[in-house]
């Protein structure tokens, strides 16, 4: 892999950029791999990357039915935070956030991690107590957060209206090293690094069946023919139920559309990420200048990657209330992704009833931030059979009633 740097750009500029090589190869599948990962979203690619980097397992294929990073990894609002309440969540999200800190250097790809700070507004007494509780928990979990008052909120984000007539801002949970990153770059950076380790990323290759023998996984059927493997990692987000069915088990997952929208780009006016959960909306400003906006998930299950207008309306209303100045901006584009929701809204990283087959799903509305940590833990789980990061997120928890419920801390979980 040719390294990227300012110097490399200068060199290429002189020859009209004719010497850049492919960011990732475009191979045909081999007959057999040690590990096959289904789904070249962020979580699938990160899993492959850490299998190689941490465990030296590089005879790996990542199979993607469309184009890599084209699922929710390329559709989300890129909020990164780890101020979760429950221990298991705080552990994996903070691991992830800390990996983001060095990810550009690690991958030699600028993923533009921007620890600009994430603020979750408290607008009811109930929320105040909830966030104070989270701040206490975070302190013991090693997550740097702070409960701040309304004046500090205004100082950090001058465009917020803190004394609106309906839900004045009472305070906020502030995570100064939360932030955003460039979603496509995360997928591309991992893909490039995987390819450089000799892994095969095979796009336009849809998995259509799972082969097993004596309760053990043997390989997959794909639109490019059968491929064998010793271990299989299923990392397909909204389509997890479909893949699980192929592998012969069922998942407690529902798929719903989650929408987002952006405004036209304007000059910088907001340096932090703000989430307002009482009114249900959140906003940040991209490096291009667009206000990036999201809210709650649609109320019905579907696979369309579209959503209803009603959610857009509710979200925009909520945010005009919070940031009155956006009323005179225009919505440039709205879109949706299909998110995979579990009963307790926490992910599943687990062995499955099929030996050798592992699953990583259920990230729902908030898994972008978890990509590095989830890949790290999942790789450990697949390579060694156990990981402290993933232990609590096993499938058994639904049978045991061992839920990891974060709804206490935040109505919306992005």
């Amino acid at each position: 892999m040719k390294r990227y740097s300012a110097f490399a750009i200068a060199r290429e500029a002189l020859r009209h950029h004719s010497g850049w090589e492919r960011a990732w190869a475009s191979p045909e599948p081999k007959r057999k791999y040690d590990v096959i990962i289904v789904g070249a979203g962020g979580h699938g690619l990160a899993t492959a990357y850490y299998l190689g980097k941490n465990f030296g397992i590089t005879n790996v294929a990542v199979l993607e039915k469309g184009w890599l990073g084209g699922g929710n990894t390329g559709r989300n609002t890129t909020i990164i935070r780890s101020n979760y309440l429950q221990d298991a969540s705080a552990a994996i999200y903070e691991k992830s956030r800390s990996l983001y800190e060095d990810l550009s250097q690690d991958l030699n790809y600028n993923v533009m991690f921007s620890p600009r700070g994430v603020m979750m507004l408290a607008q009811t007494h109930h929320e105040v107590r909830g966030y104070q509780r989270t701040a206490h928990a975070n302190a013991l979990q090693g997550v740097a957060t702070e409960y701040i008052g309304p004046e500090r909120v205004k100082e950090l984000c001058p465009i917020i209206c803190i004394d609106g007539p309906r839900y004045p801002v009472l305070g906020a949970l502030w995570q100064p090293r939360g932030g955003t990153a460039r979603h496509d770059a995360v997928a591309w950076g991992y893909a490039r690094a995987c390819s450089a380790m000799g892994m095969d990323i095979i796009q336009k290759c849809e998995v259509t069946g799972v082969r097993s023998e004596g309760g053990k996984v043997r390989g997959v059927e794909t639109s490019k023919g059968p491929i064998e493997c010793d271990k299989l990692g299923v990392v397909v987000a909204g389509h997890s139920g479909v893949l699980a069915e192929m592998a012969g088990f069922r998942l407690p997952i529902e798929s719903v559309a989650l929408q987002a929208l952006v405004s036209e780009p304007i000059k910088p006016c907001m340096d932090v990420v703000v989430m307002a959960n009482t009114v249900h909306g959140y906003m940040s400003q991209s490096d291009k200048g667009e206000m990036v906006i999201g809210g709650g998930a649609d109320g019905y299950n579907n696979y369309t990657q579209r959503g209803s207008f009603h959610h857009i309306e509710e979200t925009v209303r909520a945010l005009i209330e919070t940031f009155p100045m956006i009323s005179r901006l225009k919505m440039l584009r709205q879109w949706g992704g299909i998110v995979d929701m579990t009963g307790d809204r926490s992910p599943i990283l687990s062995k499955t009833p099929l030996e050798g087959c592992f699953i990583n799903c259920g990230w729902g509305t908030g898994g972008f931030k978890a990509i590095p940590g989830s890949g790290w833990g999942m790789a450990q789980l697949m390579a060694t059979g156990a990981s402290p990061l993933t232990a609590e997120f096993s499938l058994d928890r639904f049978k045991e009633g061992r839920f990891i419920d974060e709804s206490v801390a935040a109505g919306v979980a992005h």
Partner: protein, 1001 residues
């Protein structure tokens, strides 16, 4: 230079002058101008700067597709960034400033990026700014952000109003060009309820400019006639300045009407958002001309050929005095002819086709215009204006054959149908090889509920670049039938237009353009994406069209690629060596062009952002010191603050007074659900952990409700009214949720049980009369017998209190003698007044939610949302007494038997008292020794609610602690967030009146 012609301009009124300002300069235009035409009339060729390289930008188009001419409009509360000058109607007093430059439009420092362009190819930022790590956040990113963004951020609160409008019809026709008019006419004559929308202020679309005849009359005359016919139809509604914005599932359509943008002084809302349900939609949205990709095609003065003739014909404005026309199709000749007829110079027509065009070419030649076939623009010379054009062979690599001086270039690369609205909801496209564009595939429309298509396309939008009226006529007849009506007998109007020869696709000009030229051939003008960028993306493996778009930012600007997308994906296809349809398009997403956030939110803002639910005593509370707390859509008094008091003082006073004398609580927000029917008892036995079916009429029972996962979700007092009827009280926040929960079970699981549920929360005013003197106060009013014998604890009775029909419940959430009295909502305030009057002698005072909370905590009563958080089961809270052992089942029972739920290590409810009497911080955790496998500090409990108790004169708290009830007296450590560590002893959670003597009097 561009200027106003002496005459012409079908849309302007030369007698009405309009003064306006651009970048502080005072200019004038005419009524009917757009800001763009008025700027051109004043020789403003340079109107903005591009996004990445800060290149000079001029007007390139004449409508919604404009990527360049974006301005900051107005000031203060009506300021708006990124307003397209081409769709901004001029009004007197308009002020606009150009965007994205510093210090000025003419001299922009950011333009160094342009000379560095070579070092800033597509995606350069992914490859650099990597080291050293802190630099991204602190140096690189702030720098990049500063140069990004286009318009300025608004500062003030929006001074305008917006509204929503709901509409239902058989058919919406989007687009008021000739195709749309004909479609509406066919459907209108068949009796359909039709809504016809046109985004601009004018009807007829392109036809009046482009010429041709319909039914033997000039297009403009036909438009006028047809409009008159439509206006006379009662079943047809026409709206101009109203854009079809988005098509959603099930025939849901958004339209965006700009009511006062063109007349800001006018009263009324600025924008109106139409929310439409319709059976069928016809999009007659026309087509958009494509630029040609030659070097220097972004220099101000290079414009779409169709836009050039729009400015001449519609506004009497000449974008240039000497205009070179370059085309790959016959339509481009119309512009040359139009310019010539307006007395302007057309030094050359460069037709990329070796053999040139048909009848229009002949017409141009007859006017004396020189036409060079097989020729192309090699390069446009100029900086902030076009100076000349280097002519080359289209087949070659760009060697200049000659240089032609000119001040404008009109380019025509062919036409792309506007397929956005067709595509929003899943309509598919086909590639039309003959016309070189994507058009809707009629066989794969967006499907409605019935599995049938609900969107059809008519006219140019359908690829009928000629014969649009006939196409629309046929299409509308089909749609009329789909609606279930019979189309009339009329025959389609005949159209006469000159015969045209086919287009020859030209994606790069010249075909073998040298590398330097490709690096100057713009695809996306606003985002600065060039041919070389797309080729670079392809070379680096960004082969999917979505990858290329994201890597280069092609089509991601405010025009969403209306001009650039097709050209870009043609270049990508070429680079990948595959046909264009195999590359495909990116996804079309709503809205068609950007719509204001204000319009999306509508009327709901400020005080009416969400409905405020008011109790009957709301007004009284408000004028008597209520410190409001939002609880769902309600507002409840947190405390009634008297002058000179802090909120805390007020709370303390209220608790003490209630414990010593008597307090009044506005409890009207408590949920009240009537559950009625022969199976009501059986139903409630399933919903509550308690046995409700055995409750006797006249009695009350405190009940717990769990989710199917076993977690405690609500609690409240259930009163049995009669054999068939129960009244279930829920928490304030729980009323709607529990009502829905009940309905869900009744409708999906127990649909054969005879039960119905009615939410009567707002039918009653409910008032808590609480404290040792409560009975005395009520007896002062007289009426029903409220003695301990007649109305014992946990009983209820109907009767009269004073002059009021009332239902009295003997329940207590404070541990005091207490009555909750419900009266009809309309009598609430009067009853409240009567109680205050009667209580005067007894020291009566109202109290708010915080006093309520403290009193319940003193008694060790749990509060949903404090002691529960969605992870707590009743067993954790020592509420086993409220779980019936006799029942086979209730919601949550099975879940509560799972291993984790019966784990003896679960944290259990206890009381907590700090060693020094201080108040524990809210949400603090009790730490245990060591750390877990992930390095987190081990924990063994947490605070669930914590208060200063004025009754006990110290801090009290409740919490959940591992093995808590077995560890009474043990001291735990609770670290605060500021380094202090609080020590608290585990105690019984009932702090006050353990035996309940006070409430049982």
């Amino acid at each position: 230079m561009s200027l106003r012609l002496r005459d012409g301009g079908r849309l302007i009124d030369r007698s009405a002058r309009m003064a306006f300002q651009f970048d502080g300069r005072s200019l004038t235009g005419f009524a009917g101008d757009t800001l763009a035409s008025a700027l051109l009339a004043n020789d403003k060729m340079l109107v903005g700067r591009s996004f990445k390289y800060h290149r000079p930008r001029g007007v390139v188009a004449s409508g919604a597709e404009e990527p360049n001419a974006l301005v900051n409009l107005a000031q203060g509360g009506t300021f708006e960034p990124n307003q397209r000058a081409t769709t901004t109607e001029l009004f007197d007093g308009l002020t606009a400033t150009s965007q994205n430059h510093w210090p000025s439009l003419e001299h922009d420092i950011g333009a160094v990026n342009s000379s560095l362009a070579r070092f800033l190819p597509a995606g350069f930022y992914y490859k650099t700014f990597i080291h050293p790590r802190p630099f991204w956040k602190h140096i690189y990113e702030p720098f990049i952000r500063q140069s990004a963004g286009l318009g300025k951020a608004p500062k003030d609160r929006d001074a305008d109003r917006y509204e929503h409008f709901y509409y239902f019809c058989d058919l919406v026709v989007i687009g008021g060009g000739v195709a749309g008019l004909q479609a509406a006419r066919v459907a209108g004559e068949a009796g359909a309820k039709v809504l016809l929308l046109e985004q601009s202020a004018h009807w007829g679309g392109r036809a009046p400019v482009d010429g041709g005849e319909i039914d033997g009359r000039p297009a403009e005359a036909w438009v006028t006639d047809t409009l008159a016919v439509l206006e006379a139809m009662p079943n047809v509604t026409l709206r101009s300045r109203c854009m079809g914005a988005g098509v959603y599932d099930h025939g849901y359509l958004l339209a965006y009407e700009r009511l006062t943008d063109h007349a800001p002084q006018a009263d009324g809302p600025r924008h109106r958002l139409w929310r439409i349900r319709t059976q069928q939609i016809i999009t007659a949205t026309g087509a958009i001309e494509r630029p040609l990709s030659f070097a220097g095609n972004d220099i101000p003065g290079v414009m779409l050929a169709s836009a050039v003739r729009d400015y001449v014909v519609n506004y009497g404005v000449a974008p240039g005095q000497r205009t070179v026309v370059v085309t790959n199709n016959d339509d481009g000749y119309r512009t040359a002819i139009c310019l010539k007829q307006a007395g302007l110079d057309v030094p050359r027509i460069l037709d990329a086709r070796e053999t040139g065009g048909g009848a229009l070419m002949e017409e141009a030649r007859a006017l004396g215009i020189r036409i060079d076939c097989g020729r192309a623009v090699g390069k446009v010379q100029g900086g902030k204006r076009v100076k000349s054009v280097q002519v080359c062979a289209q087949k070659g690599s760009g060697s200049a054959l000659e240089e032609v001086a000119c001040d404008a270039v009109a380019m025509s690369g062919g036409w792309s149908p506007v397929v956005h609205l067709w595509s929003h909801c899943g309509g598919k496209l086909v590639w039309d090889d003959v016309q070189a564009h994507f058009r809707p595939d009629a066989d794969r429309p967006p499907l409605g509920r019935s599995g049938q298509g609900f969107v059809a396309v008519a006219g140019a939008a359908n690829g009928a670049l000629t014969g649009a009226v006939a196409d629309a006529d046929a299409m509308a007849r089909g749609v009329v039938q789909a609606i279930g009506l019979k189309p009339g007998k009329g025959i389609a109007p005949a159209e006469t237009q000159p015969e045209e020869l086919p287009i020859e696709p030209v994606w790069l000009m010249p075909a073998q353009a040298k590398t330097e030229l490709k690096a100057k051939a713009w695809l996306d003008y606003q985002n600065d994406v060039k041919v070389s960028d797309v080729q670079l993306a392809a070379r680096e493996g960004f082969e999917s069209v979505e990858h290329t778009k994201r890597y280069t930012t092609l089509g991601m600007a405010t025009d969403q690629g209306k001009l650039s997308n097709i050209n870009g994906l043609a270049i990508l296809s070429d680079a990948l060596g595959q046909p264009i349809p195999q590359t495909g398009t990116t996804t079309f997403r709503p809205p068609y062009t950007p719509i204001s956030m204000g319009a999306i939110a509508g009327e709901a803002r400020g005080d009416i952002f969400q409905p405020v639910r008011e109790t009957p005593m709301y007004g009284w509370n408000d004028s008597n010191g209520a410190d409001w707390e939002p609880v769902g859509h309600w507002r409840r008094p947190y405390a009634y603050v008297r002058s000179g008091e802090t909120v805390h003082d007020a709370v303390m006073r209220e608790v003490t007074n209630t414990r010593e004398n008597v307090g009044l609580l506005d409890a009207s927000t408590l949920g009240k659900l009537i559950v009625k029917g022969p199976d009501a008892g059986k139903f409630l036995d399933m919903l509550y952990t308690n046995m409700m079916s055995t409750l006797k009429p006249g009695r009350c029972r405190y009940g717990l409700m769990c989710t199917e996962n076993g977690f405690l979700t609500d609690d409240g007092v259930v009163a049995r009214i009669d054999e068939d009827t129960f009244l279930c009280h829920t928490t304030t926040g729980g009323a709607d949720r529990i009502h829905a929960h009940m309905e869900e079970w009744l409708q999906t699981e127990w649909w054969d049980w005879q039960v119905y549920v009615a939410n009567v929360t707002e039918q009653y005013a409910q008032i808590g009369v609480v404290g040792p003197k409560a009975r005395a106060v009520l007896e002062t009013l007289g009426g029903m017998d409220l003695s301990a014998e007649a109305l014992p604890f946990m009983a209820w009775a109907d009767g009269k209190i004073g002059a009021f029909d009332a239902r009295a419940y003997r329940v207590s959430f404070s541990g005091e003698l207490s009555y909750e009295i419900a009266v009809p909502a309309s009598r609430g305030q009067a009853f409240w007044d009567a109680l205050l009057e009667a209580g005067k002698a007894h020291g009566i005072m109202p109290y708010g939610t915080e006093a309520l909370h403290i009193m319940r905590a003193e008694k060790g009563f749990i509060m949903i949302g404090d002691e529960t958080d969605g992870t707590v089961i009743p067993q954790d809270l020592g509420l086993n007494w409220a779980i019936s052992k006799k029942k086979d089942d209730y919601l949550g029972k099975r879940a509560q038997e799972r291993v984790h739920m019966t784990d003896p290590d679960r944290w259990k409810l206890v009381g907590l008292e700090t060693v020094d009497g201080s108040v524990l911080p809210d949400g603090a955790y009790a730490v245990a020794e060591g750390t877990n496998a992930n390095g987190q500090r081990n924990m063994q409990g947490r605070v669930t609610s914590t208060y200063h108790s004025p009754t006990l004169g110290k801090g009290i708290a409740m919490g959940l602690v591992k093995h808590g009830p077995d560890r009474m007296g043990e001291v735990l450590e609770f670290p605060g967030t500021d380094g202090t560590v609080f020590k608290a002893k585990i105690v019984d959670p009932v702090f006050y009146d353990k035996d309940g003597d006070k409430q049982n009097v």
